[in-house]
Subunit: 239 residues, 2 copies
């Protein structure tokens, strides 16, 4: 059965930084499912009009179209029950918290740290769209949001529960990674692929976990193209 994933790309077709798409790529790898990925730009609305909305990830799995990273996790568990991502009812209720934790606790601190790097990673044809939508959502200009020192302080606080858990376990889901790990790690891939900022000290248990996550599934995350790998593309926002 043919599987197609629309995945956000930036200044290079291979530069992929959507945290939500990264969740899905890890989830597909976890299930051992093949797919074709389709690079997509923010303004390529026509290309995904069939999904009746304008954002990625969009997964086309045979004759089913699924949007929203968490809904894709649910779809994958229903359709391919082996190697659960979210698990049964009790486990799934708790998985949900990790979605909100990554989006509402981790993302704000990361965003304030890397937002200008992120802007530089966005394809030139998408930059007006990116600026307008983000400035509207944030109620401030990108330049006003950019405050790496503040961002790192926020992130440091937000990392506390992650530190506690990862000091005692290899993965959020225990001895092996599963849905909770992928829901959270997407935001670390987002930062990694657009920025060279050191978000976490290498003495932090969270750092060791990010290293393990990068190595998973044959180096899925580690082998991904980063802005800093593209000659002339990376302009450190702090420079």
């Amino acid at each position: 059965m043919a599987r197609l994933l629309y995945d956000l790309c930036g200044i290079d077709d291979e530069l992929r930084f959507s945290p939500y798409c990264w969740r899905v790529k890890y989830a597909l790898a976890h299930k051992g499912l093949d797919y074709t990925d389709k690079p997509w730009h923010f303004t390529d609305k026509d290309a995904i009009a069939f999904s009746e909305q304008g954002k990625v990830p969009v997964l086309v799995d045979g004759d089913v179209t699924v949007i929203d990273s968490y809904e894709i996790f649910r779809h994958l568990d229903r359709t391919y029950p082996d190697k659960p991502l979210l698990g049964d009812q009790a486990a799934e209720a708790r998985a949900r918290f990790f979605k909100f934790y990554s989006e509402r606790s981790l993302a704000p601190g990361i965003l304030r740290t890397v937002i200008m790097d992120l802007f530089n990673a966005v394809h030139p044809k998408d930059r007006d769209y990116f600026r307008q939508t983000r400035e509207k959502a944030l109620g401030r200009t990108l330049e006003e949001v950019h405050a790496p020192s503040k961002g790192l302080t926020l992130l440091d606080q937000a990392l506390e529960p992650l530190r506690g858990r990862l000091a005692e376990a290899e993965f959020l889901d225990g001895e092996a990674p599963a849905g909770a790990d992928y829901l959270v790690f997407g935001h670390f891939m987002w930062a990694r692929n657009v920025s060279s900022a050191d978000l976490i000290s290498n003495a932090d248990p969270v750092y060791a976990w990010t290293e393990r996550m990068l190595d998973l599934h044959e180096g899925l995350g580690r082998n991904a193209l980063r802005s800093v790998d593209i000659q002339g593309a990376y302009r450190n926002a702090e420079a």
Copy 2:
């Protein structure tokens, strides 16, 4: 089988404010297990010397003694498998995160807001002990930790994932409360019983959840004695 819970008390034997003991009282009520509670002061070390350490909760369940609130949850699930608190392996791995979230994300903001109220709720014979141990752990005097405006800002940030989850579900564990709810709610009982501070706006989905939690198990939390109910005892730290 006789069950005995050593539960921290303050200026009144009925004033109970340990977040860890509150976790356990909710867990016992969830399982429908009777117990005798034994009021205990911070300095009553001899009374629990049989547990080979000096902190509560201590649960004596027949001929088994269990310390640490999370270990008590595990003990209860093993011994009384009906109505799981933590659940199976996948669910339990995720429950663990709620322990760290409440202790490391919520507690610091609450503490900075209510610490002087908390100090006033501590039994006079325990106050030197409380001050010495807490000042050593925090690296500052109680008066320096006391910063309600900063505390409420920290708490507001820390509540974000809870808000997201509780805007869509009645309880963290879904349609009915279980271990994740009790692990987090203990810290709200801690604040409630020593302080009149409004930690959460009543328009917040977290507030509606605290109201539901207070009503559970025949009003276990709502009916508990608070400092503000003790004539002459409550001195608002802001006054």
